[in-house]
């Protein structure tokens, strides 16, 4: 359902706590960060942290870790690899979904750096969204090899180099959810529309030359909502921090839907 505004209990108080830069900071910069404490009973708010960039690593994740270590240990966010491969640190930075560990503070124009959780998601705490539904949608496309013929007894199922190359890029998805949560169609219909990340995964198995349930996979997507809520807005492809192209994958699936009818 299209709900342009936030429900009352989700509205953000823009004037949260303010933490000033330490005395003698050489390069102070303000980070305005979405905060939500589930135990407080209060609405979310935006806190301002002024930190000295002269004593901070280059990436937004470095700044978050600095804030957590030195200013406010209650700040919560997910991270693990700090090199753009685990997908944990996806958030909305400067209005756009991306990974905190690969986004350089320097590249953000404007004096303040605004950091919010991934959009239109239930917030567990601060920058931590609840991804339960997102993962369930991934599982729904059966992201594994489905075969009917018995496996060769003495070797794995071979694939040509060309066939492997078709799935190289889509397989590089790290399930960070930047794409799905940037998609207005997903915002309004996430209960029924699978979203770009799950559809990219579906595509990756549909075009896998070794997979033997291509028809069933397409059947499962033949639905006005699961696939066809995509209106080619292209926000997903613009957002993907791994330079993948979910919009194109969705377009290819739509084309296959048409061509298999002939």
């Amino acid at each position: 359902m299209v709900e342009l505004t936030l429900p009352p209990d989700s509205r953000v108080n823009k004037n949260g706590l303010v933490y000033r830069a330490p005395e003698g900071a050489k390069k102070p910069r303000t980070f305005r960060i979405y905060r939500f404490d589930p135990d407080s009973g209060e609405n979310p708010r935006v806190d301002s942290y002024e930190i000295d960039m002269a004593a901070c690593g280059p990436m937004v994740l470095d700044a978050l870790i600095k804030i957590k270590n030195e200013i406010d240990p209650t700040l919560s966010f997910r991270r693990s690899c700090r090199e753009g491969i685990c997908g944990s640190c996806a958030m909305n930075i400067d209005g756009v979904n991306t990974l905190a560990c690969t986004r350089a503070c320097e590249d953000i124009t404007g004096s303040e750096v605004r950091i919010y959780p991934l959009p239109h998601m239930p917030v567990v705490k601060d920058l931590v969204p609840d991804l339960t539904q997102f993962y369930a949608q991934y599982a729904a496309v059966k992201p594994w090899l489905e075969t009917r013929t018995p496996a060769p007894p003495d070797r794995e199922r071979y694939q040509s180099k060309e066939d492997q190359e078709k799935i190289d890029r889509p397989s590089a998805c790290i399930l960070c959810a930047c794409c799905s949560t940037s998609c207005p169609s997903y915002w309004w219909n996430s209960d029924r529309y699978l979203g770009p990340a799950a559809l990219l995964a579906a595509y990756r198995w549909i075009i896998d030359s070794r997979d033997e349930s291509t028809g069933e996979r397409l059947d499962a997507l033949e639905d006005p909502f699961r696939l066809y809520r995509c209106h080619t807005i292209m926000n997903c492809t613009e957002a993907c921090p791994k330079d993948l192209n979910p919009a194109k994958a969705i377009g290819e699936i739509k084309k296959m839907m048409v061509s298999r009818q002939h």
């Binding site: 342009l4 505004t5 936030l6 429900p7 209990d9 989700s10 953000v12 979405y34 939500f36 589930p38 135990d39 609405n43 979310p44 909305n92 400067d94 209005g95 756009v96 919010y116 959780p117 991934l118 959009p119 239109h120 998601m121 239930p122 917030v123 567990v124 969204p129 609840d130 940037s182 207005p184 915002w187 209106h231 080619t232 807005i233 292209m234 926000n235 492809t237 613009e238 192209n245 919009a247 194109k248 377009g251 290819e252 739509k254 084309k255």
Partner: protein, 128 residues
């Protein structure tokens, strides 16, 4: 279960060409649909005899309708141009980021040119 607020979305996401061209396509689609009805009523009205013709083919009502027709033409040209962009996507072409940005720019530029030409041809050419 602890309550989980909904994170900000439309109000907060940076508005980019992707969303602008998409929402404009929907809005122009709607405007075209409504406008088509108005256009049909107008054409029917002017064909209802001498007095009705005088009333709807010139004068203040007609002036207002002409402005609306001009807007409808702009909407049509945008919807047509961006519709072609959509059809290209449906054929599998133009999904790369750079291509999508370029095609958006081409749509905007051609809308300005074609709409200006059409409005000139409809309203300013000849002795009107």
């Amino acid at each position: 279960m602890a309550r989980k607020p909904l994170s900000p979305h439309l109000s907060h996401y940076r508005f980019a060409y992707t969303m602008a061209t998409s929402i404009l396509h929907r809005l122009t689609g709607l405007a075209l649909s409504v406008g088509l009805i108005v256009l049909a009523c107008w054409l029917t009205a002017v064909s209802q005899g001498e007095a009705a013709y005088q009333r709807f083919a010139s004068g203040p009502v007609s002036a207002l309708l002409r402005v609306l027709l001009a807007l409808w033409l702009i909407a049509f040209v945008y919807h047509l141009a961006n519709g072609i962009r959509h059809l290209c996507w449906d054929a599998g072409w133009g999904f790369e980021r750079a291509q999508a940005r370029r095609s958006a720019r081409i749509v905007i530029v051609s809308v300005v040119i074609v709409a200006a030409l059409l409005i000139w041809a409809f309203f300013f050419r000849g002795a009107r």
